[in-house]
């Protein structure tokens, strides 16, 4: 087990290194110059050149690369080229908001998706199955920003139950829930759509296996068969999908954060991209890579909990 984790962490460091190198060069290949964006369109060429020098952008690329890498591995991620504030502080400032949103959406998605998937599987080719499949298809094909606006129109404008501006800063628990509700439902529904479909197909496979027939034949109650025997066996593909789709969730959270005005990584990355804030973009990529690598590792480890037959070598 320890050897397995160490090996995976080793891989993770390598992945991180590769991603950082890629990001470093990609942001610099993009046309558009941070100095120009910062100084605005009335700046003279001389002023732009001076600022480029101050930001270290006039150095040869290999020099910039070495400085950057040395910084990342010594914990110095630099300061934002636009605001001058430390990149790490800016990210840590909003990271909790994004994690809160993602985790709650994931839980919501699982809470809706798994029961629905089971319901559809045990009623295969009957009305519940059709309804669930249609619903999840809708969920998959609806862009996050459209469903977000529909939610706002109904619940914030017509019913006035929730605010349009979700500050994510409520002091009381109630206020936080109020702020989180609509964005989490928006993302949670998309997640639920994915989970429903995977749960359904995975359950169908398990339901057709011999041990299920044996259990039924010896008189085990149907509920116990479904929830205890089948679900546990069907869960590994579901967990894999949840881990893999975390990336999709993060992508959709960018749009969700913007429409609901929640602070978070999404707003940060869009702003950094528009302004060509190289240092900020690099820092964000480190964070995203770390998140994805960590989630993959956790997913792998959870297999052992779900299925004792899984051995880590």
């Amino acid at each position: 087990m320890t050897a397995f984790i160490l090996k995976r962490v080793g891989f993770a460091v390598f992945t991180l290194f590769a991603v950082l190198t890629l990001v470093f060069f990609i942001v610099r290949v993009l046309p558009g110059d941070p100095a120009m964006v910062i100084l605005g369109d009335q700046a003279s060429m001389a002023a732009i050149k001076a600022l480029r020098a101050r930001l270290g952008l006039d150095q040869p690329l290999p020099v910039q690369y070495v400085t950057f890498m040395a910084g990342v591995f010594t914990g110095d991620w630099g300061t934002s080229m636009v605001t001058g504030r430390p990149v790490i502080a800016e990210i840590l400032n909003v990271l909790p908001a994004t994690i809160e949103l993602t985790v709650v959406s994931l839980i919501l998605g699982a809470a809706i998706g798994i029961p629905l998937g089971i319901w559809a599987a045990i009623n295969r080719n009957a009305i519940p199955d059709y309804v669930t499949r249609l619903g999840s298809l809708l969920g998959l094909s609806f862009p996050a920003f459209v469903s977000a606006i529909i939610l706002l129109l109904v619940f914030a404008i017509q019913l006035r139950w929730f605010p349009v501006i979700s500050s994510g800063q409520g002091e009381t628990f109630g206020a936080r829930v109020l702020d989180l509700a609509l964005p989490a439902v928006n993302l949670g529904l998309i997640m639920a759509a994915y989970i429903t479909r995977v749960t359904r197909s995975s359950m169908l496979e398990v339901l057709g296996q011999d041990f299920v027939r044996t259990a039924r034949a010896k008189g085990v109650p149907w509920g116990v068969i479904v929830w205890r025997h089948c679900l546990r066996n069907a869960l590994i593909p579901v967990v894999t999908v949840v881990g893999l789709y975390l990336g999709i969730l993060i992508g959709n959270s960018v749009l969700t954060e913007i429409v609901f005005n929640r602070p978070g990584l999404g707003k940060l990355i869009v702003g950094a991209l528009n302004q060509r804030d190289y240092t900020m973009l690099q820092g964000m990529m480190v964070i995203y890579t770390l998140i994805v690598v960590a989630v993959n590792l956790l997913t792998d480890l959870s297999y052992g909990l779900i299925d004792p037959r899984v051995k880590y070598k």
Binding site: A46, A156, E171
Partner: protein, 514 residues
């Protein structure tokens, strides 16, 4: 304070947006993901500038609600006079102007230090504007003398509370260091109180303000990048004032929210087509004239909306000091355009390329222009690139036609110098934004800059505009005005026709009425 905010948010929710007479907090929605730089000498974006004029004063100001330098009035300076040759200016500084917080009274020394900072390229983005200043000295506790090396058109314009003219308090800037970027200290009606990343900047009333304490006690300047969410938050009553999309459909839709004022403000951003006079086939004046004849300005205004747009005919936007409408005009005439092309040896038409931003508003315009040009057999090939890329590539002289949209300080010299003056040509060391390589009016632009007789100066500017249109360095299309909406129960205390800083003037006079 946080608690107060929370309760007011909750109250808003309960009251479902209905405004109460006790309302003291103004919530403004701005189109931006986050704050940029709140140091007035380094803030270049609309969202940042729009907030700063609530915090800072200049030596003088443009009367709130106006955008033209014709309305200049005293601000920190009570009075001023200039020598006969226009080279020495003396400003009397008002007494009792206090810096926000514990930074004490504003002195002539502060003013000198602030202006020195504004003209230092190391510390300011606007140093270029102050090139003609020779010395700035405090000649008394409340007197500042500014000596110029050459006369400047509309000198007072450099000292309004805009860009480098914003007066900062020396002690505060020095004490805060790098933190000043996000902790602006000025002398204006509102003081910086708090910044929540990606959410808002909160200002509170400056009870010591020299014009009197503001009626509004708090401003939340919220960053809401999504147009739809800003509109919805306005509709739900969470915002009192919002930045609008510059188009007619937005104005019409938001006006349907009960109790809403939709306001069209100057300055307009002028959309023009810069024609690169060094690249064939545009090096032939007949081709450039053909393009000018093919663009139907009336149709463009109709397309963008008659309430928010006006047709442009001169290379300088209407209303700028020195603007003239007396320029060669190119009426919409497709037959004439084709004839000119044929004369130039392009009877089968021409193809012109343009590198263009993906910003939706500008893109819609160029697509209509593309259709108009096609009627005259001019094939416009549009290469779409992301906005920052667009700005970089057009400055590398890569585009034959550059569609550009801009507002500048409303004096003809600024527009003429940045866009149509030889040394500003892109690709040169002194480049600014002369995309057409226009240099036909350099003599007039230079002469007007140092001309001390105002009438003669206006003549020179008019001649420059005439020459530029004669040569068709540029095809002016239309001006798009600034659009804002606010609730009817918000009384700004002034008539709003314009705002140099592009956001409505919220001063000590603004208040909520029942």
């Amino acid at each position: 304070m946080q608690r107060m905010l929370m309760t007011s948010a909750a109250a808003l929710l309960l009251a479902a947006g209905s405004a109460s007479a006790q309302e003291m907090t103004l919530n403004i929605g701005m189109a931006s993901a986050d704050v940029g730089r709140l140091d007035p000498h380094n803030a270049t974006t609309t969202p940042d500038k729009g907030l700063l004029h609530y915090i800072f004063n200049g030596l003088v100001r443009i009367k709130p609600g106006e955008a033209s330098p014709a309305h200049i009035e005293p601000d920190i300076a009570e009075s001023w006079e200039s020598s006969e040759d226009g080279l020495t200016w003396t400003f009397e500084i008002r007494e009792g102007v206090e810096c926000h917080g514990d930074y004490g009274a504003l002195t002539a020394e502060d003013v000198v230090w602030s202006l020195e900072r504004a003209r230092d390229p190391e510390r300011s983005s606007f140093a270029n504007d102050y090139k003609a200043i020779d010395t700035i000295t405090a000649t008394g506790d409340h007197e500042v003398e500014i000596v110029l090396s050459e006369p400047v058109p509309s000198l007072l314009g450099l000292f309004v509370n805009y860009h480098g003219g914003n007066i900062v308090c020396r002690e505060a800037v020095e004490a805060l260091g790098e933190d000043f970027l996000l902790n602006p200290i000025g002398t204006g009606p509102f003081m910086f109180a708090e910044y929540q990343p990606q959410q808002y900047v909160r200002l509170v009333a400056n009870e010591e303000y020299f014009r009197g304490a503001p009626h509004i006690k708090e401003i939340n300047y919220r960053y809401i990048p999504s147009d739809a969410s800003r509109d919805l938050a306005f509709q739900s009553g969470e915002l009192h004032m919002i930045y609008g999309r510059q188009d007619q459909t937005w104005a019409e839709r938001i006006a349907e929210v009960p109790g809403t004022n939709v306001v069209v403000m100057a300055p307009g951003e002028m959309s023009v087509l810069h024609l690169n006079m060094t690249m064939p086939p545009l090096d032939d004046i007949r081709v450039r004239r053909a393009i000018a004849h093919a663009v139907d300005r009336e149709a463009m205004v109709e397309f963008r909306g008659t309430d928010v747009t006006r047709a442009s005919i001169s290379p300088v936007p209407e209303g700028y000091l020195g603007y003239t409408a007396d320029v060669p005009r190119y009426e919409h005439d497709v037959a004439r355009a084709k004839e000119l092309l044929a004369e130039a040896g392009h009877a089968d038409g021409v193809t012109i390329n343009t590198i263009h931003t993906t910003l939706p508003g500008m893109l819609a315009t160029i697509e209509v222009i593309q259709a108009l040009l096609a009627e005259a057999d001019i094939n416009l090939e549009i290469t779409q690139v992301e906005h920052a890329t667009f700005h970089a590539q057009i400055r590398e002289d890569l585009s034959q036609l550059v569609h550009y949209s801009a507002a500048r300080f409303p004096v003809a010299d600024v527009y003429l110098t940045q866009f149509y003056y030889g040394p500003s040509t892109v690709g040169t060391p002194t480049a600014v934004t002369n995309f057409s390589h226009c240099d036909v009016a350099d003599a007039e632009i230079e002469a007007a800059r140092v001309e001390t007789d105002p009438d003669r100066q206006l003549e020179l500017w008019a001649e420059a505009q005439q020459k530029i249109m004669e040569e068709v360095c540029v095809v002016p299309v239309y001006e798009n005005m600034q659009l804002w909406a606010w609730t009817e129960n918000l009384d700004l205390g002034v008539e709003v026709n314009g705002s140099l800083n592009l956001s409505p003037p919220v001063t000590e006079q603004a208040r909520f009425t029942e």
